[in-house]
């Protein structure tokens, strides 16, 4: 058996300010970890926390809208809360939950020991956390962003105010402060996403196990690959728009301010050139998860794997050419509106291909109705409803009627909640046993699903009706006698049923992590590589790196039989590269090291490091500096800059893995 080269504490080298950390347990190990599995868990826990925060904000919104003319929240509080609900769910819940799955599963699915740049991976996590803390620090600094997640110009341009933004009693300073939080907070979050997307792209291209060609990769890995490219190209566009916004409110430039000759529509273009690919960044990971789960519980290979891959690529590609369908009401003219209406209809085609392939996967399968499958089919159904209402936006005159109403709110919650969140829960139930070694409770899981499904449809279904009856979005209250009272009450009840479902899930999570049924390596009789190793996997993932010979590698190691004949389980020991002597890891026989290596004891894992954390700490400090005036501004900018640079220099000068002696 190969053993990981653990570092002997006596040989740690001192390098710069820090002794090289060596702990593998305890809180220091979490602060310094570069292990993709621990980073994945950190991502999940943090993003789930933000999901709860965003959920509480949603409940506050629903309480305020429960009855007409409620005074539960003021207009100002409502604006901050609905804005932060959107920002939190998109940038701090769904995107990082996707990243949690990417981190944990990507190296396991491609048969690698870690990602290509383990310390960069740690940096991504810490920067993401820093961004979340920074943007929520507005609670203590004069208020949270309040212009909606899209933050349209010229609503966002008040000021400029080059002075101290914490100057109490100045409404302009307060508003500019909120815009700075929005601009700088999302910039920092964008750095985290960019770094992790580069990391995943390089890992997928370069770190695949022998024999794993691109078209043998698990479909979830493919969706990660496509999502990473979308992040890589979408983030810079919003990054520049955010810089321009910052310059407008802080230094008085004229990018989006019509009073100075700027064009507010430019902000809309820049925002949606990022914003539309962003919605595919949110949904494609969930598509990947569902495409892994449906074959396992139908006991059939994924129907039309190649079509699934290419429809994913087509969605990502077309996703760049549809942004102006968010702007039909802005008056771009009939030619632009028709062109973007057409391209929006086109994008429904690859999405439809995916839905029919999922149905084809289920069709004729031997279906096991487990919780992951329930959530996965939930996605297929709910996303289809959301997708169909999306096509109705492509009809320009129809969109004039819907735009800025609750119909739009209904649409994007059907695709993002009914789509992305259902998919992410499906993935949580599916991979929880791999992460913890224990299964989540199935009965509680089914109760969770039923509550979520009913609550979700009660909350967002009636929004279609309210929207078509003319109820506008983003209003903090509404008059009695509009005919909106009943459905608003139903929506609020639905929101609390969702909250109950989430509570059941949390109970399940905490009890099953301790007392759940022991899972074993492969509890679902699954098809992809990650189920080959132990649950939870060892730090180095695989004792022997597996050699891949087919698409559903693990399935083909377990069963023979193709086509119409039912699969026959391979008797233990008969698999092609099985080594009967190695009972602990029966499928992993390829040596991890070729000739020329001294065999077993040389799996060399990257060492933990403090520097990603140090580099991340400087960023929000610089961000707070932007909000202050005078000497304090310079002081915080310099301090934050020095901390980040010190972190980066320490990082460059330390080797990624300490030498073992």
């Amino acid at each position: 058996m190969a053993t990981i080269a653990e570092h002997d504490t006596s040989m740690t080298t001192r390098r710069g300010a820090f002794r090289r950390p060596t702990a593998t347990t305890g809180w220091v190990s979490w602060l310094t970890t570069v292990d993709h599995k621990k980073i994945g868990i950190l991502y999940f826990v943090t993003a789930f926390f933000f999901f709860l925060v965003g959920g509480i904000e949603a409940l506050l919104i629903r309480v305020q809208l429960m009855r007409p003319e409620m005074e539960f929240l003021t207009a100002d509080q409502y604006n901050q809360i609905f804005t932060m609900h959107g920002l939190t769910m998109i940038f701090f819940a769904v995107m990082p939950l996707g990243a949690a799955f990417f981190n944990y599963l990507l190296p396991l699915q491609v048969g690698a020991r870690d990602v290509a740049f383990p310390r960069l991976n740690a940096l991504s996590y810490w920067v993401f956390l820093a961004a979340g803390i920074y943007i929520y620090s507005g609670i203590f600094l004069g208020g949270l962003p309040d212009g909606g997640w899209f933050n349209y110009a010229p609503l966002n341009i008040i000021g400029p105010n080059p002075g101290d933004l914490l100057d109490a009693g100045s409404p302009v300073a307060e508003h500019v402060g909120r815009m700075v939080l929005y601009s700088v907070g999302l910039q920092i979050a964008g750095i985290a996403s960019l770094a992790s997307s580069l990391n995943f792209i390089v890992t997928i291209l370069n770190m695949r196990a022998p024999g794993m060609t691109l078209m043998r990769m698990p479909i979830f890995t493919w969706m990660m690959f496509i999502t990473s490219f979308l992040i890589l190209f979408a983030m810079p566009v919003i990054g520049i728009a955010l810089w321009q916004l910052l310059f407008d409110v802080r230094f008085g430039t004229n990018f989006f301010n019509p009073a100075g000759g700027g064009d507010p529509i430019l902000w809309q273009h820049m925002f949606w050139i990022f914003g539309h690919p962003e919605v595919y960044i949110l949904i494609l990971p969930a598509f990947g998860i569902v495409s892994e789960i449906l074959p396992v519980f139908s006991r059939k290979p994924l129907f039309g794997y190649t079509a699934m891959v290419f429809s994913g690529i087509a969605i990502a590609f077309l996703g760049w050419g549809v942004w102006a369908h968010h702007m039909f009401a802005a008056g771009l003219g009939p030619v632009a509106n028709s062109a973007f209406g057409l391209s929006t209809m086109f994008i429904a085609v690859p999405t439809g291909v995916k839905i029919f392939n999922w149905l084809g996967t289920l069709w004729g399968g031997r279906i096991r109705l487990t919780t992951p499958l329930l959530f996965a089919t939930g996605l297929v159904g709910m996303f289809t409803i959301g997708g169909l209402s999306g096509v109705t936006h492509a009809v320009v005159p129809h969109d004039y009627q819907q735009t800025d109403t609750y119909y739009i709110v209904a649409h994007f919650h059907y695709v993002l909640f009914g789509g992305a969140i259902f998919g992410l829960f499906a993935g949580t139930y599916f991979w929880f046993p791999k992460v913890t070694g224990r299964l989540l409770n199935e009965s509680l899981g089914k109760i969770h699903f039923v509550l979520m499904f009913i609550g979700f449809n009660l909350t967002f279904g009636p929004m279609h009706i309210l929207g078509l009856w003319g109820m506008p979005r983003r209003i903090y209250t509404y008059a009695d006698g509009m005919g909106w009272n009943f459905w608003n009450m139903v929506e609020t009840v639905g929101a609390f049923i969702i909250a109950l479902g989430i509570l059941v899930f949390m109970v399940n999570l905490f009890t099953s992590a301790r007392r759940g049924a022991v899972a074993g390596n492969d509890p679902w009789d699954a098809r992809t590589l990650e189920w080959l190793t132990t649950s939870p996997p060892p730090p180095h993932n695989y004792d022997m790196v597996p050699t891949v010979t087919s698409r559903d590698e693990l399935w083909h190691r377990k069963y023979v039989g193709e086509g119409e004949s039912p699969p026959v389980r391979v008797p233990a020991g008969a698999s092609t590269d099985h080594d009967p002597a190695d009972a602990a890891a029966p499928h992993q026989t390829l040596p991890a090291h070729g000739p020329g290596h001294e065999g077993h004891e040389s799996i060399h894992m990257p060492s933990p490091s403090y520097y990603p954390l140090v580099a991340a700490v400087g960023m929000p400090i610089m961000g707070w500096g932007v909000m202050l005036g005078g000497a304090m501004q310079v002081a915080l900018l310099v301090l934050g800059g020095l901390i980040t640079f010190a972190g980066l220099f320490g990082w460059v000068l330390e080797p990624s893995a300490e030498e073992t002696h």
Binding site: I201, V202, P210, Q244, N254, G260, D263, V545, G596, S656
Partner: protein
């Protein structure tokens, strides 16, 4: 993967965070730099698009033809382009293990970059003195933010070049450096190429169109 290591003449030093050959045969960090450059194209694309939209919106301020000093900027552009030659020679030197030559060329490259940057700072101060400020018009805002953003990239590149020089003076192993030098070089060349596009779109085309109009 690890089993392929024996196929390679030598493992790529510093090519990845830990030892093994890669699926594509291209070093991990070089691939990441190419990815970063792809992303940077969109950064500059967004900035250049904004500039192209706003170059005609001069308000009460100067027009492009009135403010730009084409001969001066051409000279600093030439110096920046020559710095790419310096970078190529520095990489060739370290690959040939000629460390003295490497140090000379890497310093020369940093110096040419600094000259360009100094020219940009001078140009900005002249513009401000002539009443062409960040807040004058959408044209001035988009000009300063675009060229300033590029200047920041050049400054970051100079920081990396000087760091490489210091690292080589401290006697870090040349073999480990040489892929790093190549990566820094990729970034440096990219920043140069972007400047060619900026110089054409920002300075030459507006100057030429206004000359044709006269």
């Amino acid at each position: 993967m690890a089993t392929q290591t024996s196929d390679m003449a030598a493992p790529l030093p510093g090519s990845s965070d830990y030892e093994h050959a890669t699926s594509l045969g291209l070093a991990n960090d070089k691939l990441a730099i190419w990815g970063l450059i792809g992303s940077e194209c969109l950064f500059f694309g967004a900035l250049i698009s904004t500039y192209l939209i706003y170059q005609g919106r001069t308000g009460d301020g100067p027009t492009p033809a009135a403010i730009f000093d084409i001969p001066f900027t051409s000279a600093s552009t030439f110096i920046l382009l020559m710095s790419s030659l310096g970078m190529v020679l520095a990489l060739a030197a370290i690959q040939a293990n000629e460390m003295r030559k490497f140090r000379a060329w890497i310093l020369a490259t940093a110096l040419m970059g600094s000259t360009f940057l100094a020219g940009q700072i001078y140009e900005f101060s002249v513009f401000v003195a002539e009443g062409f400020k960040l807040t004058t018009s959408p044209f001035s805002s988009s000009f300063f933010v675009l060229t300033g953003f590029h200047g920041f990239h050049v400054a970051f590149g100079i920081l990396m070049l000087v760091s490489l020089w210091i690292a080589s003076m401290m006697g870090r192993i040349p073999q480990r450096l040489h892929t790093t030098v190549e990566n820094v070089g990729l970034y440096w060349h990219f920043v140069d190429i972007v400047w060619i596009i900026i110089f054409t779109a920002v300075y030459l085309i507006p100057a030429a169109t206004s000359a044709a109009a006269q």
